[in-house]
């Protein structure tokens, strides 16, 4: 017989909102959050020191230092550090659930699989964007600081190219989406920290090795570095996505769709 209990089910958007609120709270004191806030500082610090000590050898006298400063830093950050950051971030965020044996608890709540999948994806996208914005802000701030500390480099004599940085961020962010989606699905499937990180690192190294390959646009782990192709002379950056950017979006869509379907076959039979 059926009971007289109210059998209401929250709508998908409500579930997503609730799940997101919980996922944000889980970030408190996590390495994922520290990595997001701190990782942007590393390439900035590196290039600020290089320009502080050796800037006079890198820049031509009287030249606007901003394009060279931003491009060189961006190239290092996007080529190797950004893919590794995304690999590490996705594993760290999901490892919070693995470590707490929380999947069984999570799926015993009145939440659909789609809400859990969507909310964690949104958290990852948000952290990824936050890290890149923090990096860009720190980069510009370090340029201003160099203008004060090393007036001979002429940072203070030219305006910071803020108009170029926003579209540059757009290209870089889109370029990371393929990696993010693949790593997200891998971490959800394996439910381990080490396995997806190892695979992600290997893929990044392979991508860098294959950089001269004619089909490199198809390799999602190369997309962040390839996104710099959107940069024209004098740091002119348009909004139109390059082939590698479009393919990164394609990878993201395919990985998320296929991953979501595949993950439907994964059940909470083990002790987690």
């Amino acid at each position: 017989m059926e009971t007289a209990l109210t059998f209401a089910q929250p709508g998908l958007l409500t579930q997503l909102r609730r799940s997101l609120a919980a996922d944000v709270l889980k970030l408190k004191h996590t390495p994922a959050l520290w990595l997001t806030l701190g990782s942007g500082a590393l390439p900035v610090l590196l290039f600020a020191l290089i320009f502080f000590f050796k800037g006079q050898f890198i820049l031509k006298p009287g030249e606007n230092p901003w394009p060279a400063y931003i491009l060189q830093s961006w190239q290092t950050a996007t080529g190797l550090l950004l893919p590794l950051f995304v690999v590490l971030l996705s594993s760290l965020v999901l490892h919070t659930e693995n470590k707490a044996l929380a999947w069984k608890h999570l799926y015993a709540q009145p939440l659909s699989r789609a809400a859990v999948f969507g909310s964690k994806l949104l958290v990852l996208l948000g952290l990824n964007l936050l890290a890149q914005v923090v990096y860009a802000v720190l980069l510009v701030a370090s340029g201003w600081l160099l203008g004060v500390l090393r007036p001979g480099l002429h940072f203070a004599d030219f305006a910071a190219p803020l108009g170029a940085i926003v579209p540059l961020l757009w290209h870089t962010f889109v370029a990371t989406l393929g990696i993010l989606a693949l790593q997200y699905v891998a971490a959800l499937w394996w439910r381990s920290f080490a396995a997806p990180v190892a695979v992600g690192m290997a893929c990044t190294i392979v991508a860098l090795t294959l950089m001269r390959w004619e089909y490199i646009n198809w390799v999602p782990y190369a997309a962040p570095l390839l996104s710099l192709k959107a940069v024209g002379k004098g740091l002119a950056v348009g909004w139109a996505l390059s082939t590698s950017g479009l393919l990164a979006l394609g990878w993201a869509a395919a990985a998320l769709l296929l991953g979501y379907v595949l993950l439907g076959f994964r059940h909470e039979g083990a002790a987690r």
């Binding site: 007289a4 004191h29 015993a108 909470e268």
Partner: protein
């Protein structure tokens, strides 16, 4: 809600991991308002059954009904009325006890005051600010119970909830479960491999043996069923001598102690006859009574592997 309605009901529920069949045609029936002790030795399939009830595993054969609704079609709505603690509690060690509860409160969209209420219920208010990684095993178990209690559920599914609790903690847990059932009308499905944990608290019992229900019913029913295992206990001076003197009546008796014998119970007349024979043989009879099997013995009878 009718008191005789079933809050949990499975029909011909079967499950296997690959070729290994874990559950066979399980017809579980948990009455509303009961504390249902789900008993079985380790590996009998208890946790798998509970995971199937919650939809954590798909049921390849048979059906699960929660609150009278087909779980396959109304899973999320049903889970809104269920609080569960499956095996080890799911705790985020980097978060405080309070934040651990806050996570689940947010997941379920519950009122903000609920966290403080359940912390008080499980006696963790004073330690709520401490990171969960600093909690003892017993505190972790209590926090796990608090997570299950958070939505004020109609049905509590608790898998081995006293794991890691000290004797005081076990007594407190027992009292809490009884309060929840008696005063708040909760239905509690409680799994354990320890009969002593169940017998003081359960109103109903299901005994799982190798994936099959060996028994299901009220505790009183189980004890009645086991009356065939009742025995006459005789306290005398010398058990061995009594057996020598009365080989026909006491030859097959079990020696329970130097002056104590146990004989399978048949009837009141049998007891009178044994007393008479012992007195005639010149043996003192200090006590003679019929002893019903304990729930523990009943459990052992039900779960001992069938002899081919």
């Amino acid at each position: 809600m009718k008191t005789n309605s079933l809050l949990v009901e499975t029909r011909a529920l079967s499950f296997g991991f690959g070729p290994r069949q874990v559950l066979h045609q399980l017809d579980l029936q948990v009455p509303a308002g009961s504390i249902y002790g789900f008993l079985g030795p380790n590996g009998a399939g208890k946790s798998t059954t509970l995971r199937l009830l919650l939809g954590l595993l798909p049921a390849p054969a048979g059906t699960v009904h929660l609150f009278g609704h087909d779980q396959a079609r109304h899973r999320l709505a049903a889970l809104g009325q269920v609080g569960a603690l499956i095996e080890m509690p799911s705790l985020y060690d980097h978060l405080s006890g309070r934040d651990n509860l806050e996570v689940t409160r947010r997941l379920r969209g519950l009122p903000a005051g609920r966290t403080a209420e359940v912390l008080a219920t499980v006696g963790l208010s004073a330690d709520a600010h401490r990171p969960a990684r600093e909690y003892s095993l017993g505190m972790r178990q209590r926090l796990g119970l608090a997570l299950a209690l958070l939505p004020d559920p109609q049905l509590l599914i608790l898998d081995e909830p006293t794991n890691g609790l000290d004797p005081n903690g076990i007594i407190e847990m027992r009292a809490l479960l009884q309060t929840l059932q008696r005063e708040h009308g909760k239905t509690i499905l409680l799994s354990s491999h320890l009969i002593s944990e169940i017998e003081r608290v359960a109103t109903h019992v299901g005994v799982l043996q190798q994936g099959r229900l060996a028994f299901q019913g009220s505790v009183a029913e189980l004890q009645r069923r086991q009356q065939g295992h009742a025995q006459v206990v005789i306290d005398t001076d010398d058990a061995a001598r009594c057996q020598l003197l009365l080989p026909v009546d006491l030859g097959g008796a079990t020696v329970l102690g130097p002056g104590r014998l146990g004989v399978p119970y048949q009837s009141a007349e049998q007891m009178a006859y044994l007393a008479q024979q012992l007195v005639l043989a010149g043996q003192p009879v200090y006590a003679l009574h019929c002893q019903q099997p304990s729930l523990e013995q009943a459990f052992l009878h039900l779960t001992e592997p069938a002899v081919a």
